[in-house]
């Protein structure tokens, strides 16, 4: 690539050129010509977002640890940069050595968000790789998908050569080993794909045939070759404690999200919230030991110079040794300008006390997520917190001196009525009243602020709500208006998500292979970076659906038959359909399910079928044996 042209002619004319320069501290630049396997880790959003992604930090480190492999980062360009690149015929390039995407052997994309999918097509195209997998030749890289989106990869089936389902730490080695072997023997692309399909956790969509009935419902999904597994089980790294974790992280120049050390204290969550896909697909719970985490922290503080450590997981206050860990970290780093933060707090006063111990949390504020406004609905979604929990957490926070709190809710949850929506406002006002009372003692009642942010519920695969109909746009918007009316108060700020975006998320999240054509059309019509409101155009999507003769409401708004073959049934997340159906029935009956970490197995099926278990720091770690 013409580097000078990039530096002299393109970067001076784009916004935030620092996104495209690379060369950051700890970025790994290997000898291109003498490294056999070249792996691009491509993120379908801009640098500012992609650099915060923990999964890629782990894979970048693991791959670059291998002598035979180099891994480089690739991000989506912002639209101004894309225009310049197309104008100058500059292909999408990696930050480390500025090689075009097509120069790599393997190109990974992480599937974090449905609305980033057209961005993937755009990046492939900008990188000079045929967008359709079927059109790729021996010259082209293999395009690999990973991340939570693989728990329904079907809408992307036409664009990917293979997907890796589940934890990537071990599977990525299997893939690279296989690639090396295949390259030595110089055989066809199909040979590699056939061999890859034999790796546990690898799904090669082209070896499956999907048949639909006349209404568009799937009848069968069957392997087209012998030896192709009818279901692909996700990979699970059972012993997370001794799993490799990055000892260095690329330290960006420009500001990015999560620009700090992330210590992954555990993976998985078994609280069993019924709307939450992460809680189902990342099971079982695997905690790292305090000593391990302190070691990670020490290495990372040294190698990055970061001023903040964040304790990452789906629900950090659930980590079994949280107090010990925080004390250990504070004792070590409290005095040398390295702060701590807790991004995901449980809703209780214990968590507030933890946050109180940590000074940084003053700046970042506290967010609580009751998710629903009434106890009835919280029972339906199995969010096992009560109004009392919220009020006691809020009390603790106000007493400890916080003036403002953020509350997160959803609307459009199954069985929701206007009374539940009104419950959101009621709960918010109760918190506000409490805040004014408590802060009033210090004459600071006027400072109390509550921000309420309300998302639209999007049903996802591998959750007990995978069969339900999403509320229609009109209904969601009606509820937003209703709530806005109830929340008008100068001390309350109210924000909500775009119902049209949520609809599209729901369509893609539970879509089938036929949606590939819609994605393709939408991309050609200009869809990219749709997560950014300034780029999202719903009418563009509506046209794409119409042109392909598909109805978005078929995917979002149709309640699935319980016996129906779901597009993702051949991907095995471990939790059984039987369990999900039982949970769905319990939801309708308003019955709750306990956390299997503490209260005994609730029978999701994962542990016995996969031969894994929850591993808590209290309960004997394999690495201690």
């Amino acid at each position: 690539m013409n580097q000078q042209r990039l530096l002299d002619e393109i970067l001076p004319r784009v916004t935030k050129p620092g996104r495209y320069i690379g060369g950051e501290w700890n970025a790994v630049r290997k000898d291109w010509n003498n490294t056999p396997v070249k792996f691009a880790l491509a993120f379908p959003d801009i640098y500012d977002i992609g650099m915060g992604h923990l999964g890629y930090k782990i894979l970048y480190y693991i791959l670059n640890q291998r002598e035979d492999t180099l891994a480089e980062r690739v991000y989506a360009p912002w639209t101004d940069m894309e225009a310049r690149m197309r104008e100058c015929e500059l292909p999408l390039f990696s930050l480390e050595t500025r090689h075009g995407l097509a120069d790599f052997d393997l190109v990974g994309f992480t599937l974090q968000y449905e609305l980033s999918y057209t961005g993937i097509l755009n990046m492939l195209d900008l990188g000079g790789i045929p967008v359709l997998a079927a059109e790729r030749s021996l010259r082209d890289p293999f395009v690999v998908g990973g991340g939570p989106g693989v728990f329904n990869p079907e809408p992307l089936a036409a664009f990917f050569d293979l997907f890796v389902i589940g934890d990537g730490e071990e599977a990525i080695h299997d893939l690279v080993d296989l690639y090396l072997n295949w390259k030595r023997n110089g055989s066809s692309r199909e040979t590699l794909l056939l061999q890859a399909a034999a790796i546990p956790g690898v799904y090669v969509p082209r070896f499956y045939q999907v048949k639909y009935d006349e209404t568009g419902v799937i009848q069968t999904v069957t392997p087209t070759r012998s030896g192709i597994p009818p279901r692909v089980q996700k990979r699970v790294v059972q012993d997370l404690d001794s799993a490799i974790y990055p000892m260095s992280l690329v330290v960006p120049y420009i500001e990015v999200v999560h620009d700090r050390i992330m210590l992954e204290v555990m993976r998985g969550c078994t609280r069993g919230c019924r709307f939450c896909q992460a809680g189902m697909i990342y099971r079982p719970v695997r905690e790292r030991r305090r000593e391990t985490l302190l070691k990670h922290a020490e290495a990372l503080v040294k190698s990055t110079g970061y001023e903040e450590i964040s304790l990452a997981s789906l629900s950090t206050s659930d980590y079994g040794d949280i107090q010990g860990l925080i004390q250990g970290l504070l004792a070590k780093y409290g005095d040398c300008g390295v702060a701590l933060s807790l991004p995901s707090l449980r809703l209780d006063s214990f968590s507030v006390d933890l946050a109180d111990e940590i000074q940084t949390q003053r700046r970042t504020g506290l967010t609580f997520a009751p998710e629903a406004g009434t106890q009835r609905l919280r029972d339906v979604i199995n969010k096992n917190v009560t109004e009392e929990d919220l009020l006691s957490a809020a009390t603790a926070a106000f007493k400890a001196g916080w003036d403002s709190l953020k509350l997160y809710f959803m609307i459009g949850l199954p069985t929701e009525t206007l009374a539940d929506v009104a419950g959101i406002a009621q709960l918010t006002r109760n918190v506000l009243r409490l805040g004014r009372e408590i802060r009033g003692l210090e004459r600071k009642a006027g400072r109390v602020k509550i921000s309420v942010s309300v998302g639209c519920f999007v049903p996802k695969s591998y959750t007990p709500f995978q069969w339900v109909a999403q509320a229609a746009i009109e209904e969601l918007e009606e509820k937003q208006r209703y709530l806005r009316g109830l929340l008008s108060d100068r001390a309350i700020s109210f924000s909500w998500t775009d119902a049209e975006k949520s609809l599209l998320e729901a369509v893609i999240a539970r879509g089938d292979r036929r949606l590939g054509k819609v994605l393709y059309r939408a991309w050609q019509a200009g869809s990219r970076l749709d997560g950014w409101s300034e780029h999202f155009s719903f009418s563009l999507w509506q046209e794409a659906f119409a042109a392909e003769n598909l109805d978005p409401y078929f995917y979002s708004h149709r309640e699935r038959n319980k016996g129906e073959v779901l597009p993702w049934d051949h991907i095995d997340a471990g939790v059984s359909k039987q369990y999900l159906l039982e949970e769905w029935a319990k939801a309708l009956a308003g019955e709750v399910t306990q956390d299997c970490r503490y209260d005994g197995c609730s029978g999701c099926g994962l542990c016995p079928t996969f031969g894994v278990k929850n591993l808590l720091v209290g309960g004997g770690h394999p690495s201690e044996a």
């Binding site: 970067l11 001076p12 190698s303 040398c336 300008g337």
Partner: protein, 225 residues
């Protein structure tokens, strides 16, 4: 202990902003394990202060920083530790210890010199344009303000401008201007008057100074006074 250092911002990092640069240096200090002093309060900040912010896209061989340490350190060690911990394109070149009372860089720096380099295009006579600027009594530029754009005459703040090189389609000029709170010229403003498309030229800051009568002192010189 207080230290004043000069460093370079080279090509590899010319597209990062002043804030990005400050953050990068802070993190390098921490990696280097230097005993930087911190401010008090909820979010302690390392005690570092810069001379004059550099615009995105501009390279420099004359960036200055004052750093305060909680312990005594050896100047040479500090330089080498910093350089081992800085990404390519940022290089500490020299440093001196300064007294606690020495005024901040920001409050004393009042001159900046730049080198502008760009394609000349056809029939462009750089020398003539330079002469025209120097002969002008006033040079109006527009500065976007909070409410409205203001017209400002930058001519009194242009102290010298000369052609360094002209030929083979490329030209370059050296510029010395006022900088700081009592008047400030951006090199791009002069470049425009030389008919240069500012997204197509290179700007390099070659010096920051403190004017003492007719003499120009570098921020390291004043440390000894």
């Amino acid at each position: 202990m207080r230290l004043r250092a000069r460093f370079l911002k080279e090509d590899a990092v010319r597209f990062i902003s002043h804030l990005d640069l400050a953050r990068t240096i802070e993190r390098a200090v921490r990696r280097a394990g230097l005993p930087i002093a911190y401010s008090q309060g909820f979010s302690p900040r390392p005690k570092m202060a810069f001379g004059s912010a550099l615009a995105v896209g501009v390279t420099s061989s004359a960036e200055y920083i004052d750093m305060e340490f909680a312990d005594e350190i050896v100047v040479e060690d500090c330089l080498s530790l910093m350089n081992q911990n800085l990404p390519t394109g940022i290089r500490f070149k020299e440093a001196v210890e300064i007294g606690p009372e020495l005024p901040t860089l920001m409050s004393v720096i009042d001159r900046a010199s730049y080198i502008l380099t760009g394609n000349l295009g056809q029939n462009q006579d750089l020398g003539l344009k330079v002469q025209r600027i120097l002969e002008s009594e006033v040079i109006w530029v527009e500065r976007p303000g909070k409410k409205q754009t203001r017209q400002i005459d930058i001519r009194p703040w242009i102290f010298s401008l000369e052609v360094l090189k002209e030929g083979a389609g490329v030209g370059s000029a050296a510029l010395l201007v006022q900088t700081g709170s009592r008047g400030n010229v951006r090199p791009e403003e002069v470049a425009v008057h030389l008919s240069w498309d500012i997204t197509r030229i290179r700007i390099h800051r070659s010096g920051l100074f403190i004017a003492r009568g007719s003499r120009l002192l570098s921020p390291l010189d004043v440390a000894h006074c």
